[in-house]
Symmetry: D2
Subunit: 255 residues, 4 copies
């Protein structure tokens, strides 16, 4: 079976135009200055261009970043690549690791975990709400290049089935309620990552981590500033994302 | 052969004490309040603690982050995890990918690339200066868990041997001089990432990328703000890193 | 004559509603949930409230910040309070000082200068473009509480009339072209402040300052992050201003 | 009587050397490469230079910024110019205003207030601790150019003597305890500014402001990034201040 990535294309046009398109389903693709048939698009090799009414468009294959930012359907605030990337690093998520996640949300970060642990690794993801569960399932279906994700439609408050996980990532409203449960699923010295949007949640989570014998490595926020792409008038963009969330990293102490 | 990671331990002590220790080589490990023999340390399972003169220390296994930040020997400015993580994400470096890098520097990011592409992937890294090359070799030797890195002690100005690479990362003084050479090594629509410390270099690099038919995806800087770990008096640390480098991401257009 | 400030009111309503209103000119003031007559509004003392259809609105007198951010007409990028405040501090603009400015733009910072130097001080402001000059004149007319501003409708490239100024502020496209002229207008050790939006302009300005015997005190950018006003869910706002300009501060060396 | 400013000089030397010196008291001034007698220094007009052992030094008169950053004695965390400037702006502190402050601390911001309100204005500052009170007195004595500051060595918890103040600035550990008292001292619609270092304090202060009928205008933090002064290799400095405090601005509602 083909991965969903292999049938997605990114179209790049003038004035920052960017669109992710499915070439597997026949349709007309709207462009700033005309349209193109998806079957025609399928003929163009990534890296190459086409022209519609004197406007040149380039075609690229779709990567994880573009998929998450420009294609994935979301009903929830997703973990964005700037945080997602750092979480992967801090949780030491590399090929072969066994990692857990709750909640699944729209599945954006689940996809990142799946790609990072690779075919020898395993991802277990829990989502309590059925609508999110189904959305994530749809978002992930045939986009996973590795058959390494097990999805649960239940809250981890009912318990985590797995044991001796290398790492766990928590994106839930009240992480302090489930620290004890996550603790049981982690191997000794296992990595825990948590994202929360408010400072009050950070405080409450820190207290719970201490109580539950975690070593707190870091509380951190990541700010990203993008620049306009004009070499002779280089300057940051006028607006930037001011906040997504605070990241908390910890490691399990004791057995 | 055992990976170097398996014989490294992180010792956590009071007042933010943190030290990465080699338990394979017998020695006395200095602590804020006494010392411990590395052979004794080897007996303690990660996650567990020991006590010296009423002070409790915890022992963790060493992860990539701690290795890069607290153990790796450096003669160069290294790519730090906050940038490294985002570069891996933006270059779509996942298991099975074939990626290139120049220069190797101290090998910090080479290690990240190796871990990210996994046993089915491949990393090719070029370093012109012999002293850096040797340092990186030492830093990487037996820390690589996967046998997937090929090191060259030469400048890519002499050419890159590989073709059809998925991605390339450039950390050199004058990236604009080698864009054309990197271009030849990349597959169509392949990913290019560049780090430079000054705005003047950003401008010059952007001009060269345009000339050499790259689509410029993003110029970005990442700022990370760490917080003090006191829940009832939550606040950022007084000092933060104000700058490491500007990141430039691009994709190869045309064949 | 009454100052324009004395006849302006800020209306504060639900969901962050904020509007600056002129109570001197009779009109209907639109509100989220109805309207109020400006003559009625004039009867309400600042600090007090009124009610329209069960919605409570508060009335405040208008301060410099609200005037610049919410009332002043602009055709240009104005110097915002976050930069304006720091410029006043860095240029040591306090009561009694004699300061110059070019260009006047919409007059936002001219107003700040006028208020800061007070009745014993003096502001000289130059604007080349007639449309901006007229706009600034309108913006400043009867908003100046002190009769201390002299406006010129000409470029400082034609020369600055004043000598021995305490400070000068430059907000022009090519500051490097006029550094020599500003130098002549400043007293020895006088303060110079410059704002430019791009890094290329910073570099070029620094070169010109060195050539013209200025001591460069600082190049700086100011980032401001606003928080949502919810005590039990404290967090920064999602979006923030990523860039307005780089500030350069210098002092004249020699006679 | 001469202002203390008139007898202070800033000496600028190579490699960022900067020193504020009192030319009124005879002494030897140490320099990177030798020394100069303060009486000799007094002969050099601001803006001019002197040479010691082939090294050129420039002499500037001392401004508020240099005084606060490089001369004022401190036993407390002071309000730095980057915050101080914005506070002045947000509290609409201009010539003629009557403003209050607690605590005085080392007097850094008291000086800024004094300079900003000018000879027609008035500053009332309260400090509970005797040691801080005496330090501030010493710091301010003969540095105030205007005779407009009244200092109290007592806590505002005992009450504020003044009424109908235009603005008040609070830099105390538990601002929520004194909001009611400050409220009484402010005129209707008067400005209140508060600085606190932790997020928990922000939350608690917001709750108290709401309870005491204040309109909360803004919670904000200011980050300042300084650049290296090298035009051909322009880049931010490696380290920056990550945090000083959160600023809260509010206005009194009702009578």
């Amino acid at each position: 079976m083909q991965s969903g990535f292999s049938t997605k294309r990114v179209i790049i046009g003038p004035d920052g135009f960017k669109k992710v398109v499915d070439i597997a389903s026949p349709n007309k693709v709207g462009l700033p200055n005309g349209q193109i048939d998806s079957t025609e698009l399928a003929e163009i090799k990534p890296g190459n261009s086409f022209e519609i009414k004197d406007t040149v468009y380039y075609v690229l294959n779709c990567d994880t970043y573009d998929y998450v930012m420009h294609y994935l359907k979301r009903k929830t605030q997703v973990v964005y690549p700037k945080e997602g990337a750092y979480i992967l690093m801090r949780l030491d998520v590399f090929p072969g690791k066994r990692v857990g996640e709750a909640g699944t949300g729209s599945g954006a970060f689940t996809l990142c975990l799946s790609r990072a642990v690779g075919p020898q690794g395993q991802v277990y993801t829990y989502e309590q709400r059925e609508d999110f569960y189904k959305l994530a399932e749809k978002n992930l279906k045939n986009f996973l290049e590795f058959d390494n994700v097990i999805m649960y439609n239940k809250s981890i408050e009912e318990g985590i089935q797995e044991r001796d996980l290398d790492a766990f990532f928590l994106d839930v409203r009240e992480p302090w309620e489930v620290i004890q449960i996550v603790r049981e699923a982690l191997k000794p010295a296992g990595h825990l990552g948590i994202i929360v949007p408010t400072t009050n949640q950070v405080s409450q989570t820190l207290i719970s981590l201490e109580k539950n014998s975690f070593y707190i490595s870091e509380v951190v926020e990541i700010m990203m500033r993008k620049y306009k792409l004009v070499p002779e008038r280089l300057r940051p963009k006028d607006l930037m994302v001011g906040h997504t969330g605070y990241l908390i990293f910890a490691r399990k102490l004791g057995e």
